[in-house]
């Protein structure tokens, strides 16, 4: 958590958070070129000063100890695949890149060169990239990770409303009578929006919250009506809702007639079968379906919020379109408190869409398929034409590269070796491509290992430009400190590359339209943005009335903001005129289709993936902080406890999880939030955190080794949230656990050094722990490994030595014949009290149930001695359970909270308030408030005096025998 105290000589810079699409404003404090603090910007209309656990720790991820260990600091060339890269200068790097690309273009044509970008690029970065690829190189082989995130939302909006524009805004939370959250765990994925939802509910007690999700998430826990639908049954749910609305007269036939087309077809389709059928497909009671329809239908202002549950699906576009249909049928759009509001996963997926930075889009929401649009853009850029043939989308692009059709892959600001589905194909693509460039801020991503050329890019705190958030609001991203190392801005790298390619392909320059001599004349990001602005004139997202200066003076603004306007538009389609040729919105009639893969005898479980509260994407940034592992500390696959029991598996047991495409080894975690037959793995766990030596010797590639590359035929967004899997015990006889506190400037480097262990052991999992800023400037590292048999003693010693477990001062238990080893290192503090600094449990890891907690909680172990070496899962000493951390900001644990609640009487709200007053939990970022509410509900008031708070360790010697 940030400190509010002003720092001498400090500069405060307003910028925007680089994580989710909420687009929160931040105020960065820096001293002498080093970021030292971050606060929520009280003036930013997205967050009004609040930040979540991730946003409020941004400054810690920019600490020198982190950047020096994890950032890509210099351009590097890998002379041989698999070898360590060697540094080279920027000029040499860019010349090399331009030479290779030009040669490949000459030999194989522009279709042999593909660019894969990111929803984390700024609008300016995106714009230059788009122009470089489509305007200069002459291919539409440009796609981004937004394909994995928002393309179904784009396709859904365009199919129904005519344009890719979320019609609502955050303020609508306060006006809605019914909130419908579907396919989104807002409490975790968009915490600041959830704070606003909580506030809206508090201010408007009549507001109903309906949540539809296969998992009982913290979002679902707060719902007035929770619909635990089967995975992929969304279209049936929306059809069922529409059926009930029609049947009960809850639709607005006047609005339908005036402002839409195609309703009759959809109506006939949904009325064709009874509502019970839809309820059965969804696996929910008919009464709940009807209740939801009644709360949403009629003249109730209803706001729908949705995210990847709708988008990451082979029916993604249909899901979006049929949900939007509910709003069109009831006229719940374009008015306060109403509308289908797609929540964006990435900070600038919106901006990327605005500049057309995808394989099927063109600048300013223009379509590649439209010849007039192509001509407009070609004229703007001064090029003869832009290619008509749509490029390959993310999954298709990597599949083509795996087939050898793409020779050069340029990857910017994203980590496809972590995030794309069907990693086996992705890795083949990266290996098969002749020239792979990775333009990245962090050196630690799995994709970096495949790069022939690594180009260091700037990141949050250094970047300069704009982003657009979920509610169409454009915010400035401003640099607080100079670039780290030799990093350069992405737009500047693309500009420099474009200039060099122009020199190498002069015939293309010669073909420019009169008056155009170069496409890449950009001295500043503002010059790029001004060109983008010009491209929006007359478009739905017209921002010709905006300027950097206006953003500077008046703060973030929503689009459209055409010339002459004095403010952006909060809500779209208030007049009932839509962005279609006839101005009418369209109903899409689509039949419900099951997900591509179903549970069957061979793969009897269905895997869902998604976010954790305190992590973001591939964790190249959040994964640098131990404290962000306080909420969920290690990778796991969540399964219903009854499923585990039925399979003869235990909570915590290491499982082998297989799909038709690949496998992972990952520990089980019992979760009653899961439906039977369904499993969940957080999308974050790539091979950077969980890996091992696969049965074929290949490295295990994280969660997306399992996931489904099949995609929605319209949006081309892959079905990352639905794959059928088989689970079984991993059947590895030998396990080991290593933990150590390390100096902050060494811990992350150690994690990098340990990564090759994945080639040695069948299973590896490595995460940081800790609570930065740590008084002793430490970060913890936790490594688990497992294998079929114990490794050679020398191998074990090497790993132990990496954790500092070497020399003659170790407490050790060794049963070499059985491969059981427990090595501990204790260290005295200034008062002489001893604390565990490092430990290894090998062979017999049962003490992992209690020993690591002593280390992580810094217990005084002075009196324990060899008791620490005891075998077994129960501690030979009484140790108060520090418990699970609930509040990351104030480090408040579940036992403390329960202890307080047990002697706290009153209403749920009063008890929550008492809790927050006494322990401060949930009063900073508020991300844990949903958990606190659950604890309030589940912890009854008891008359008996509360147990003593267990923050203080109680450690006792085991018996009198020793003292006798």
């Amino acid at each position: 958590m940030s400190t509010a105290a002003p720092v001498a000589g400090a500069t405060v810079t307003r910028s925007t958070c680089p994580y989710c699409g909420t687009g929160c404003g931040v105020k960065i404090t820096s001293v002498q070129g080093q970021i030292v603090d971050v606060q929520g910007d009280p003036d930013h209309p997205a967050n009004f000063g609040r930040l979540c656990t991730k946003g409020s720790t941004l400054h810690l991820t920019a600490a020198a100890s982190v950047t020096q260990q994890t950032r890509l600091l210099h351009p590097q060339q890998r002379l041989q695949r698999g070898a360590a890269p060697t540094p080279l200068g920027w000029d040499a790097a860019l010349n090399l890149a331009a030479d290779r690309l030009a040669a490949i273009i000459r030999e194989h044509g522009p279709q042999a060169v593909a660019f894969y970008g990111s929803g984390q690029l700024l609008t300016e970065d995106y714009y230059v990239l788009n122009k470089l690829v489509k305007g200069f190189i002459g291919t539409n082989l440009l796609d981004t990770n937004s394909r994995l995130c928002m393309s179904s939302a784009v396709a859904g909006y365009k199919a129904t409303l005519g344009a890719d524009a979320p019609p609502a805004c955050y303020a609508d939370f306060d006006h809605a009578e019914t909130m419908f959250i579907v396919g989104a765990n807002t409490a975790w994925a968009h915490p600041i929006l959830f704070r606003r939802i909580e506030a809206a509910r508090a201010a408007r007690p009549s507001q109903k919250l309906i949540v539809a999700d296969p998992r009982r998430t913290e979002t679902a826990e707060m719902a007035d009506l929770y619909l635990p639908i089967r995975p992929g049954s969304d279209v049936a749910l929306f059809h069922g809702l529409l059926h009930v609305m029609v049947r009960e007269g809850l639709i607005d036939r006047g609005y339908i007639a005036r402002h839409t087309t195609g309703f009759e077809t959809l109506e006939a389709a949904v009325m064709d079968q009874p509502a019970q059928v839809y309820a059965d497909i969804c696996g929910i009671p008919l009464a709940d379906l009807e209740q939801a329809a009644r709360w949403m239908g009629g003249h109730t202002p209803t706001l729908s919020l949705y995210c990847q549950g709708l988008n990451q699906s082979t029916a993604g576009t249909d899901k979006n379109a049929t949900l939007i249909a509910l709003h069109l049928a009831t006229g719940q759009i374009g008015i306060p408190g109403a509308g289908p509001f797609s929540l964006t996963g990435q900070p600038n997926a919106m901006g990327g869409r605005e500049v057309g930075g995808m394989a099927n889009l063109l600048s300013a929401h223009r379509d590649l398929a439209n010849a007039a649009h192509r001509e407009e853009v070609a004229a703007l850029w001064g090029v003869p034409e832009v290619p008509a043939q749509p490029g390959k989308t993310a999954v298709e692009m990597f599949e083509a590269a795996a087939r050898g059709e793409i020779k050069a892959l340029w990857i910017a600001c994203t980590n496809p070796a972590q995030s794309l589905p069907d990693q086996a194909t992705v890795r083949r693509a990266l290996e098969r491509a002749e020239f792979v460039v990775v333009q990245e801020a962090f050196a630690s991503t799995a994709t970096c290992a495949y790069a022939d050329l690594l180009l260091p890019a700037t990141t949050w705190g250094e970047k300069d430009g704009t982003v657009t958030n979920s509610e169409r609001r454009i915010s400035r991203v401003r640099p607080a400190v100079p670039p780290t190392g030799e990093a350069r801005h992405d737009w500047a790298i693309f500009t420099a590359l474009g200039q060099r390619l122009e020199a190498r392909l002069p015939e293309r320059v010669a073909a420019y339209r009169p008056g155009t001599t170069t496409l890449f004349d950009y001295p500043t990001p503002e010059s790029v943005w001004n060109e983008h602005r010009a491209s929006t004139r007359g478009r739905d997202l017209d921002i010709t009335g905006l300027s950097y200066a206006l953003l500077e003076q008046q703060g973030p603004q929503q689009w459209p903001y055409p010339e002459g306007a004095t403010r952006g538009r909060a809500r779209l389609y208030a007049d009932g005129r839509f962005a279609t040729p006839d101005g009418k919105a369209r109903f899409v009639t689509a039949a419900w289709r099951a997900p591509r893969e179903q549970a069957d005898a061979d793969y009897p479980f269905v895997l869902n993936t998604g976010r954790l509260r305190d992590q973001w994407h591939g964790m190249s940034r959040t994964g640098t902080l131990g404290r962000l592992f306080g909420h969920v500390s290690e990778p796991a696959i969540e399964l219903h406890p009854d499923d585990l029991q039925q399979q003869g598996l235990r909570d915590g047991q290491l499982l082998r999880v297989r799909s038709r495409r690949g496998e992972v080894l990952i520990p089980a975690r019992a979760s009653t939030g899961q439906r039977r037959g369904e499993a969940y793995i957080a999308m974050h766990w790539g091979e950077e955190f969980i890996s091992g030596r696969g049965r074929g010797g290949q490295r295990l590639q994280g969660v997306n080794a399992l996931t489904q590359p099949a995609f929605c035929p319209s949006s081309k967004q892959p079905e990352l949230k639905n794959a059928s899997i088989a689970i079984e015990a991993a059947d590895l006889a030998w396990h080991a656990v290593f933990l150590a506190w390390l100096p902050a400037n060494e811990a992350l480097a150690l994690r990098e050094r340990l990564k090759p262990l994945a080639d040695t052991f069948a299973f590896t999992s490595c995460v940081p722990f800790g609570r930065e800023p740590d008084a002793q400037a430490r970060v913890g590292v936790l490594l688990r490994v497992a294998d079929e048999q114990a490794p050679a003693a020398e191998r074990l010693r090497e790993v132990a030595a990496a954790f500092g477990l070497e020399g003659h001062e170790l407490l050790r238990y060794d049963d070499t014949a059985r491969g059981h080893h427990r090595w501990l290192q204790v260290q005295a503090d200034r008062e002489g009290a001893q604390h565990l600094r490092a430990l290894m449990l090998a062979g017999d890891t049962r003490p992992a149930a209690w020993l690591p907690a002593l280390l992580q909680a810094d217990h005084d172990v002075t009196e324990l001695g060899s008791l620490l070496l005891h075998p077994g899962a129960s501690a030979p000493v009484k140790v108060a359970d520090a418990g699970k951390q609930i509040c990351t900001c104030y480090n408040v644990t579940e036992p403390q909270i329960v202890a307080h609640l047990q002697h706290c009487e009153g209403s749920a709200d009063a008890r929550l308030a008492s809790l927050q007053g006494a322990l401060k939990c949930g009063t900073n970022c508020g991300s844990c408030v949903p958990t606190l509410r659950t604890l309030v509900r589940n912890t009854p008031f008891t008359e008996s005096p509360a147990q003593a708070p267990t923050v203080v360790p109680i450690v006792e010697d085991r018996s009198d025998r020793r003292a006798a």
Binding site: E809, D814, T816, A817, S866, H870, R958
Partner: protein, 411 residues
């Protein structure tokens, strides 16, 4: 017939711990069976030889370590000849002769002559100041020398040598231990435990020369030792050289009697010499199944068996002893028993707590505990020794055994 004439005669040669323990056991069983005569070469009643080190270290006095005062002999009607060395035994006539001409007839003879220190036959080994460490006289010599001289060398890093070195150090001498092996107490400790021990003793000011071979004791020109010469050419200053390089069973008398000897009087499981069943032997002078024990516990076990046979009870067989070791140096706890080195086919479990100077090694073979080596914390030594001797299956406790008895570990 008077009682006196009806009783058989038992003569004991050797007034040490083995012989007197046998008499104590015998007197418990059959107090009136024998007329008993004891010959002792030393001028002292039976004392606890293994407590000489605390005497040397100044922690106890000679009086403290007397086991059987003269009154004990009187109370039991034992004829005691102190300072009398037996020079001849006529087995045919069953008569014992001493150097001073004392004779004693026996029906049963118990040999408990103990052992003698091994004196390295190096040049100068007869110089003044070159002594062994065996009895009260040696101890008194060391105590007196420490008052007047500065440098001592102890040859032999075994139990006795280290106790001597520690005692001399405590009495103010500069002490160096010269040891032929790679590590100290190699018959009692493994290398690691020996390393801990050496470090501890070094911290107390004792110097060590390992893998060092003695070449000679050098004369100061007045018949007293001045230095010890090593084979590598170095000289260690030495006003006192204590040879603690091992013991040899004292069998000269037994050999003269025609008893079969082989590093000790060869005895049966009833502790009778295999040559003459009227003659028994116990303690360091006896060789049972190839072993001559040098520790007190086996000797006591032998005494118990021997007494039952002398008492005509005829029960009990001595089948050899498992031995365990302790070093009598205050503040140093070490213990070993059984196959503590871990021979082929064994598996070992180690516990190390260097901060507390604790090292524990348990050696398993099949289902059984067969050896233990403890340093720093020996409180469970007796328990392990019991387990080793009983041979009870402990494989199921292998994970916890090194932490002590289960009832304690449960807390």
């Amino acid at each position: 017939m008077s009682q006196a004439t009806s009783r058989k005669k038992l003569v004991v040669i050797g007034n040490g711990m083995a012989g007197m323990r046998t008499l104590e056991e015998l007197l418990k069983l059959s107090p009136d069976l024998y007329d008993i005569t004891v010959f002792g070469a030393e001028p002292h009643p039976n004392y606890n030889r293994i407590m000489l080190s605390p005497v040397l270290a100044g922690e106890q006095t000679i009086d403290d370590i007397i086991l059987n005062p003269l009154s004990w002999y009187e109370r039991h009607g034992i004829t005691l000849h102190l300072g009398q060395t037996v020079t001849e035994v006529d087995r045919r006539r069953r008569v014992v002769h001493t150097a001073d001409g004392i004779e004693a007839h026996y029906d049963r003879l118990l040999l408990a002559t103990g052992s003698q220190p091994f004196i390295l036959p190096v040049p100068g080994h007869t110089l003044t100041g070159v002594i062994a460490y065996r009895d009260i006289a040696d101890t008194q010599t060391m105590i007196e020398t420490a008052r007047t001289h500065r440098h001592a060398v102890v040859i032999g890093g075994g139990l006795l040598g280290l106790e001597a070195a520690n005692g001399l150090r405590l009495r103010g001498m500069a002490v160096t231990v010269v040891h032929i092996s790679e590590w100290l107490l190699e018959r009692q400790l493994d290398r690691e435990a020996a390393g801990l021990l050496q470090a501890e003793l070094a911290a107390r000011g004792i110097g060590f020369e390992l893998q060092a071979h003695t070449a000679a004791c050098l004369d100061d020109g007045h018949g007293r030792v001045r230095a010890l010469a090593l084979k590598d050419g170095r000289e260690l200053p030495a006003d006192l050289v204590v040879m603690a390089a091992g013991i040899r069973p004292q069998v000269a008398l037994a050999e003269s009697m025609g008893l079969q000897c082989n590093r000790g009087v060869v005895v049966t499981d009833t502790l009778q010499s295999i040559t003459d069943p009227r003659i028994y032997a116990v303690g360091e002078c006896a060789n049972h199944r190839g072993t001559a024990y040098g520790l007190v516990a086996p000797l006591y076990e032998q005494a118990k068996v021997c007494a039952t046979h002398l008492a005509h009870w005829g029960i009990g067989r001595y089948q050899g002893s498992q031995v365990s070791t302790k070093l009598k140096v205050t503040g140093i706890d070490l213990f070993s028993a059984g196959d503590f080195m871990g021979a082929e086919g064994t598996e070992s479990v180690f516990l190390r707590d260097p901060l507390r100077g604790v090292y524990k090694k348990l050696v398993f073979k099949g289902q059984q505990l067969v050896g233990a080596c403890l340093y720093g914390d020996i409180r469970d030594g007796a328990w392990y020794f019991d387990l080793i001797r009983s041979g009870e299956p402990v494989a199921s406790q292998r994970d916890t055994l090194v932490f002590g008895p289960p009832q304690a570990a449960a807390g």
